[in-house]
């Protein structure tokens, strides 16, 4: 009887001819499309090359990026506050949060941006303090006039972040709900206060659930900034490229320029998300078993 030798199996692997055929088909299709696009005059590649790194476009891309980052930063903070308020033992907090989400999630962001643009028409000043109580000219509070030329940039950020906060609140709430109630009980039985429990026990564990949809929201925000023209803010990437295309009577190359920049930012954000997800998977991924 032959000794069963310990050699690896030698066999003809299963062939996948259709995969190769399908891949070839799409490569040919893409090549044909690109070759055609390259010679098609409507794309006007000369203008594309001229404007892709042009100073105005470059600056507009910066405006779009900063609108995204600042609005998302504020929206995440406010979203966490709103979600924690929804879970607070205090019914006042719970209801304030509910009403905020109801209004800002319930109306279109474009319409909200138009409203923020009209802020100075509706309200002339902003007052912090107790109204109607004054001693002569001394009021118990401070007046901030809203000038006709209130920064459109900041109005756009307020509009984008308040709307986004309503969505972030729901994402954070889902994350908080995903944490086992035993965690809160364990923290409470150690004598931790409600806020300490949230801050150090519940929120860090919820982050693992919160981050993937948040990455989605950031990418979505990057593109939603193209609506700030409703405020009307016209220094962002989309408004600026449209503006330039009016000069050269051809919108197509500038649309390609805008899309290239949007895609570039999105690609970077996808990389960032990958690393942040790894960071918050501590205690879950097999590779992070021992703290280094």
């Amino acid at each position: 009887m032959a000794q069963p030798a310990k050699t690896s199996i030698k066999a003809v692997p299963l062939r996948h001819p259709f995969r190769w055929a399908a891949a070839l088909y799409f490569v040919v299709l893409a090549a044909a499309f690109l070759l055609d696009a390259f010679h098609r005059s409507a794309y006007d590649w000369k203008s594309f090359r001229k404007y892709i790194f042009e100073a105005r476009v470059f600056k507009a891309a910066g405006v779009t990026l900063s609108l995204t980052i600042i609005s998302m930063f504020l929206a995440i903070l406010l979203g966490i506050v709103l979600a924690v308020m929804r879970r607070s033992p205090n019914p006042v907090f719970r209801n304030v949060s509910w009403v905020f989400i109801w209004i800002f999630r319930g109306t279109p962001v474009y319409v909200q941006l138009v409203f923020w643009g009209l802020l100075s028409t509706i309200y002339h000043s902003f007052f912090i303090g107790i109204p109607d109580i004054h001693f002569g000219h001394f009021y118990l509070g401070v007046h901030f006039p809203i000038s006709q030329t209130a920064s459109l940039y900041w109005l756009a950020i307020i509009g984008l972040s308040l709307n986004e906060a309503a969505y972030m609140a729901e994402i954070v709430r889902a994350g908080l709900l995903s944490v086992d109630t035993g965690q809160e009980e364990a923290a409470e039985s150690l004598g931790m206060s409600w806020w300490t429990t949230m801050r150090f026990i519940v929120i860090p564990q919820a982050m693992r659930i919160i981050i993937p949809p948040t990455g989605n929201e950031i990418i979505s925000m990057l593109k939603t900034t193209s609506l700030v023209t409703a405020v009307p803010l016209v220094t962002d990437l989309y408004a600026r490229t449209r503006n330039i295309s009016d000069e050269i009577y051809n919108p197509i190359p500038l649309l390609m320029v805008a899309c290239t920049w949007y895609l570039f930012f999105t690609t970077i954000l996808m990389f960032v998300q990958y690393f942040v997800e790894k960071r918050f998977a501590r205690g879950h991924s097999p590779l992070s078993g021992v703290q280094s």
Binding site: E185, S189, L190, G191, M192, W194, Q205, R282, G283, V290
Partner: protein, 255 residues
């Protein structure tokens, strides 16, 4: 107050909706005593334990730990509900160990143990780390200090959970079926830690199905069924010579 009981429960009632889970529980646990609560599931023993830690609110009766009423402050014969911060302070003196461990999965074993010291008692990190390592050593896990709970066995996790509760220097330890979620071969290591704790003079209330542990370690055993205390006494009496039919019935099934 040195002679007052550590735990005193008088006519404790508790309902969840229309379901009355505790129907008048009376018991006392003296300082340094180990009391084991046994009984079928749904008998109310876990609920009673959770009431002592104020994880559940009682509906009526009087429940106090070391002379202080749980969840309330008494002034001129009137009860005032405690503020959350006062309730938290009261809780921090009572250690609790859960059936499913409830370790914080995003923290290492050591961080789990020191979390209460740092976040509640505001002890500085170095001191907390030193004490935390000593506690992990006490439960035999100092070499696992930097491991996350997911990489510890059930028995090791439960021992970390005991160390975490001990870090608050509690005067009373509550154990809610601490070995029920463990593989059989891991039960012993947890019971050994608990035995050591009992020998060191800790007052303990243990809800358990480990009759061997109850026989060996408990000063007294209470058999609960259907929300009432059916039988109580020395472990040798209750476990070896039960008087009530229900106790006999239960013991014949578990031993």
């Amino acid at each position: 107050m040195t002679n007052s009981p550590m735990v005193s429960a008088v006519e404790i009632h508790k309902s969840f909706g229309s379901n009355e889970v505790l129907k008048g529980i009376n018991l006392e646990v003296n300082k340094g005593e180990v009391l084991c609560l046994i009984g079928p599931s749904g008998s109310g023993k876990s609920t009673f334990l959770r009431c002592i830690n104020h994880l559940e609110k009682i509906d009526s009766g009087r429940l106090s730990v070391d002379g202080a009423i749980i969840g309330y402050r008494e002034h001129n014969g009137k009860l005032y509900e405690l503020k959350p911060s006062e309730a938290a302070k009261q809780r921090s003196g009572i250690g609790m160990v859960f059936q499913r461990f409830n370790l914080f999965p995003h923290m290492t074993a050591l961080d789990n143990v020191t979390s209460g010291m740092i976040r509640v008692q505001s002890i500085d990190k170095d001191t907390a780390t030193k004490e935390g390592m000593a506690l992990l050593d006490r439960v035999g896990l100092s070499e696992k200090a930097n491991h996350y709970p997911a990489h510890l066995s059930g028995g090791q996790q439960q021992r970390v959970a005991i160390a975490r509760a001990l870090a608050m220097k509690p005067k009373l330890m509550l154990f809610d079926e601490p070995t029920s979620a463990l593989d059989p071969e891991l039960v012993g290591e947890v019971l050994d830690v608990m035995k050591g704790l009992a020998q060191s003079g800790m007052t303990m209330l243990v809800v358990t199905h480990e009759m061997g542990f109850a026989k060996e370690v408990a000063d007294s055993v209470i058999f609960m069924d259907n929300g009432v205390v059916v039988e109580s006494g020395k472990p040798s009496d209750v476990l070896n010579n039960p008087q009530h039919e229900r106790t006999k019935n239960f013991l014949s099934k578990v031993i």
